[in-house]
């Protein structure tokens, strides 16, 4: 049955070097519930190791959690990839790691903590997650699409690491959505960046700390809290739609 789902599909965990250590699975799902969210997605920079732990914490409290990744392309554009099937996420991760060079310096860029559902530190990811994969934008979008994922350009209103800031325009490609940060409304973003472009514009928080979760959300009318349904809503297919962004 179709109903409204308030979604924030761009949340980082303590695995992202630039995110706070407080971004542990239980703390994230508790804060999301407090903010009245129905569906969230975990998208760490070039990495996925904490996504399943948050999904498990979400199941305990009845919060839908989708699996994702925020990939940095060769052009230093951030692209969100969202997936329903863990195997697809795993394959994408493997591909990304094959093209991501360098080692993290925790003292310089921040710690990259892999945790379990309880927030216990398992180990630290030693790759340079802040870096860029040696994959072009269209290759990354293609990679996500070929694994059944949803590809969304992150924070297009931000000068650094956004599609417009890095390229100056929205190229023609199979993007499912353009994300705007909490700083701007969808209407403003459309006027400024995406005139005449058919791709839906949505808003998520890009939370790096707990109090940022839910600062920007998109409400979908969908039948279940998963990526397949969100993709249908982004396309306006089978009665699914974006209600508010």
């Amino acid at each position: 049955m179709l109903r409204l789902w308030r979604a924030d599909l761009h949340i980082h965990t303590c695995l992202s070097p630039c995110a706070e250590d407080e971004m542990t699975p239980r703390a994230i799902v508790e804060q999301a519930r407090k903010k009245g969210l129905d569906l969230i997605a975990i998208c760490d920079h070039n990495a996925t190791e904490n996504a399943e732990a948050v999904a498990a914490a979400g199941r305990r409290v009845g919060l839908a959690v989708s699996l994702g990744i925020e990939i940095t392309t060769r052009e230093e554009v951030h692209i969100l990839g969202l997936f329903d099937r863990p195997a697809d996420l795993e394959n994408v991760q493997e591909h990304v790691y094959a093209y991501l060079k360098g080692e993290n310096r925790p003292d310089v860029f921040g710690r990259q903590v892999v945790v379990n559902e309880e927030g216990k530190t398992l180990h630290e990811n030693e790759r340079l997650l802040i870096g860029a994969c040696d994959l072009a934008l269209d290759e990354v979008v293609g990679l996500i699409g070929s694994h059944g994922g949803c590809a969304i350009a992150s924070h297009i209103d931000r000068e650094a690491f956004g599609l417009i800031g890095q390229l100056g325009f929205v190229p023609e490609m199979d993007l499912d959505g353009l994300e705007v940060s909490p700083r701007m409304t969808v209407q403003e973003a459309r006027e400024k960046f995406a005139r005449g472009i058919e791709i839906p514009v949505i808003r998520f928080s890009d939370a790096h700390r707990l109090n940022e979760i839910g600062q920007a959300t998109t409400v979908f009318e969908i039948a279940a809290g998963n990526v397949t349904e969100v993709r249908l809503a982004l396309r306006g297919a089978q009665g699914r739609r974006i209600v508010e962004a």
Binding site: E75, E76, K101, V108, F109, A132, E159
Partner: protein
């Protein structure tokens, strides 16, 4: 060449850690893709960029760069200033475009041999 001389001759406005002017500048690098600067810049270089994001400070620390010059009148974000203060990175700005900053710096370093 001392950083102080570079700052003076390029007419840079120093925003953080002016006291490091006695450090030696051994080269320069121009780039706005952080991953490129991480991969290809050399220690002791002055980095000319239009990126103002706080991560530029981390890159300068990682690569032991002599200073960051924001070209074309770009102003650092507050968070970038704060990080540069904390990390001991010299951050300067120029109203000149990157091409001119780099061209002048190249000429100065070449002339010195």
């Amino acid at each position: 060449m001392k950083l102080n001389e570079v700052i003076e001759r390029l007419g840079l406005a120093v925003r953080t850690h002016a006291e490091q002017g006695e450090s030696e500048v051994t080269g320069g690098y121009v780039g706005d893709l952080l991953s490129d600067v991480i991969a290809n810049s050399q220690a002791g270089s002055v980095w000319v960029t239009i990126q103002v994001h706080p991560n530029i400070v981390a890159v300068a620390v990682l690569k032991d760069l002599a200073a960051i010059v924001l070209a074309n009148g770009r102003q650092p974000q507050d968070e970038t200033m704060k990080k540069a203060e904390e990390e001991g990175v010299t951050l300067a700005t120029s109203s000149l475009p990157g091409f001119e900053v780099a061209g002048r710096l190249y000429g100065m370093l070449k002339a010195e041999g």
